[in-house]
Symmetry: D2
Subunit: 281 residues, 4 copies
């Protein structure tokens, strides 16, 4: 498995270059960032050279398409997708992710139909560039009722949706926080095949009743109550070998410097990977 | 357009053979029935010969797959689908229909995802036999709240679902009763392309507030308040040339004899097709 | 049916604006051009206003994707497709076309597999913008052996390929020249459904043995031996109501002025539409 | 990896029951057989009980659909597919395989289009039962020219075809004989993901020029010149954990008894798995 950073949890960065630099300095394998923006800034060759010199891969890009809104919003995003995918592919990135809010103001069944078609288009385009689409189920209880109608939030629902989308390059973004707030066990992970998982997020939760856990109140790995050792071991055992990227969503930006926060993240990764008995690269 | 009968509204029939015989005697062009059962009874050749001698086509078969229930139910039905489709194709039938209940006890978004995959499988199999799948949106208000969660009931929602299913051989079953209970106009029909419509049902509604109209309280064409002349004219004008089959769902079986009811249906078709200014074949 | 012009057969145009102007002046309904380029030149609003003031629709855009070459070429084109489709959709155009060369230097079966996937991606993107993809089968005998391996050139092969592509928005571009060089009859057209045809080209062939007819030796409608009256009548009878655009490919550019050539085209259309007994709009 | 037997190479069996019995007695993990026929003979429960008592899984069933012939042949087979899939699923089998002849009398491009659609239907049905479809590329040189037109025989061509089919549950049947006759190396295997491989066949080739190797002249594993140790190690290293089934196609049935041939197969498996350094289960 590859140890990775996202921008969530390492403070106010100056740029993606700083993210790459810090990830590299502190022994991470990958970062999640916007490949297109990096290519626009540096050019493809220089961007690729920087990543190679830094020994850093791009774990995943975010899906630059708003598939939850109006047709206009969707098509506006779709127009940007091929160049975003081309930039990612040029930098060797093979993953693109988006998240599924567990409730919606739209009538749920109709929204599911519309979103199925939209994500099929996205997956199809990404597939042309050799990129997989990871769908992140989102577990925190408060979000299940935040909007008018319940949508979906479990792994099984998400797998069924992936079947409905029907493109071969769609899988799960498996986030430890959503695994925990769905009250799932390591045996649930062991029932999956590695190829069903496109990407993994890691983070931790406060020691409060699970139904009170807020989505933007996340802790650094090992600083909370999630069984991250079991989580990582199960993923490793089923053969998952992709990125495990930290994503610490918080209500307020942490005040420490990015470097201090990356060091804290380094410690966090060491702690939970060691607890999992995984030999680090 | 082809004038057709279903078994709904012509009383207690002895068999499909009686349906074919009565439809033929009273100048109908087609009947909706179970082709497989006819083939099982008569053999393919004799069934085809009977239809030809009677100058009757099979308008549509019903989808013999319960896609709304458990996986077991679905797969049990799927197992029967190829032979049902083969029988229909052997008798020249190119349409297979199912209806969409406008509410469901299942979580709506997840059910939509599961049903999308299931109907895609059905459509794919039907397509191999040159058969199209018609989805009937169902409008009566009382059914929208009969089960726990709203599902879909409008034309637009159904078209979006057809897009989500994504097979080229799926379209609408357009029923005058659901058009009426959705409070749609002829201009709504005129916005469709003929190839979006697989099959048409005709029947009439009592003169009561539309929100009180019950699904199983249907009248014979022209005996109620639906603008069937406008309905038929619009379908004809956009180029729809398939079956228009009568479907009179009622709480209790009518007591008159099938022959009396077919004569009443004949009168009803004459009335509304003449009002529509359509020269009858 | 809509009478249309392409740029092939009307000489050396100064710009798309001249094409629109001449088509409008001489009573055509539509032109085939690159919508994106028009939008880039005028802006969407002004382009739409020009078309409306000229009473001209865009019949079809060409597919801006080279799907017959390397992966790099394909992806480069794919990147441009959404904005090309968006421009077309913004101007009310719902058709995009490409042609199929009847032989290829690539191993035929593998090329078919690769091209199937590529055109599915194109169709999927176009579909998101409400645009259909028309595939033009190409009949002239000399092209069937021009490259190493035979590919496909008949209607049935193309329909089977459309099935293999599997997206609901793919159909035929039916060109009179290819109908003729495939030695097909009006009854072949009558066996199609209107919705299987996305676009139509019209032109004529010299009175020489059909196997000697060259692809770039086309005549104006009515100046050759193709039964264009039968061709148009059959298309009209099955309900085809889209564009019929003139495409006169020739080895050398005609020397007359665009206006003279559009007048000649006007005469040609009048001749064959009258021969077909079609009341002109 | 699971060690398996097919009926090819173990002589004239009395029945599937004997195959299961011998596989079990000599320490194999799985057999490839027709699940439907086993269920028809014993009933689902007894068949499942026999397999469990024998500690034998069903590695794969053969695709009971002739997708290379006429439409009639195809549809006749398709009609049997759901019940074949249901029987396999009921016995825990998740793989179904078919092979691709490397040449064909049909025009290659058109046949590829037709076969793409047909195999998509098969894959779709199998997918409903949780079964994957494995496509076996076939390498021997003599078969590449046995019929009029070359079709496909390489891994890359097959992967591109799998993309064209477009269903998520299609992958490779990787046979050591075809790997060898395609003159591929272990590094070719290492470039695959485990989830791209549905099933594996093992067997060996005579020490003659590779272009002279005949498809039905196969040797027992380790008795020929194929680098089966490298083959197995590479498959294991990329994470393939499914069946590796022996398939010894020969011109004439071997004359030894099934038991003698299973013992010979046992020795063969021990030899090559040990050479590969794979700890046997």
């Amino acid at each position: 498995m590859l140890q990775g950073l996202t921008t969530a949890g390492i403070g106010k960065l100056e740029s993606d270059l700083q993210l790459i630099e810090l990830a590299s300095r502190y022994g991470f394998d990958c970062v999640d960032l916007d490949a297109k923006s990096l290519v626009d800034r540096l050019g493809t060759e220089e961007a690729a050279a920087l990543l190679q010199a830094s020994n850093i891969q791009i774990g995943a890009i975010g899906l630059p398409v708003e598939w939850r809104g109006t047709d206009e919003q969707f098509l506006e995003g779709l127009e940007k997708l091929p160049s975003a995918a081309a930039a990612a592919a040029a930098l060797g990135c093979t993953r693109c992710c988006t998240y599924i809010l567990p409730s919606t103001d739209a009538p749920a069944a109709h929204f599911m139909a519309v979103a199925t078609k939209r994500l099929r288009s996205c997956a199809n385009i990404l597939g042309a560039y050799g990129i997989r689409l990871g769908l992140e189920f989102v577990g925190p209880h408060h979000l299940r009722t935040q909007w008018k109608h319940p949508f979906i939030w479990t792994v099984q629902e998400t797998l069924d949706w992936i079947d409905a989308i029907g493109e071969p390059n769609v899988g799960l973004l498996y986030d430890a926080y959503h695994w925990y707030t769905n009250e799932m066990s390591v045996s649930d992970i062991r029932q999956l095949r590695a190829d069903q998982i496109v990407h993994v997020h890691i983070n931790d939760a406060k020691d409060i009743p699970v139904q009170d856990v807020l989505d933007n109140d996340r802790q650094y790995p090992g600083e909370g109550v999630i069984d991250l050792a079991g989580f990582l071991r199960a993923l490793n055992d089923i053969g998952y070998a992709g990125p495990v990227s930290q994503e610490i969503l918080t209500a307020a930006q942490p005040t420490a410097s990015p470097e201090e926060l990356v060091i804290r993240s380094r410690t966090a990764f060491d702690r939970v990977f060691q607890a999992a008995g995984l030999i680090q690269q």
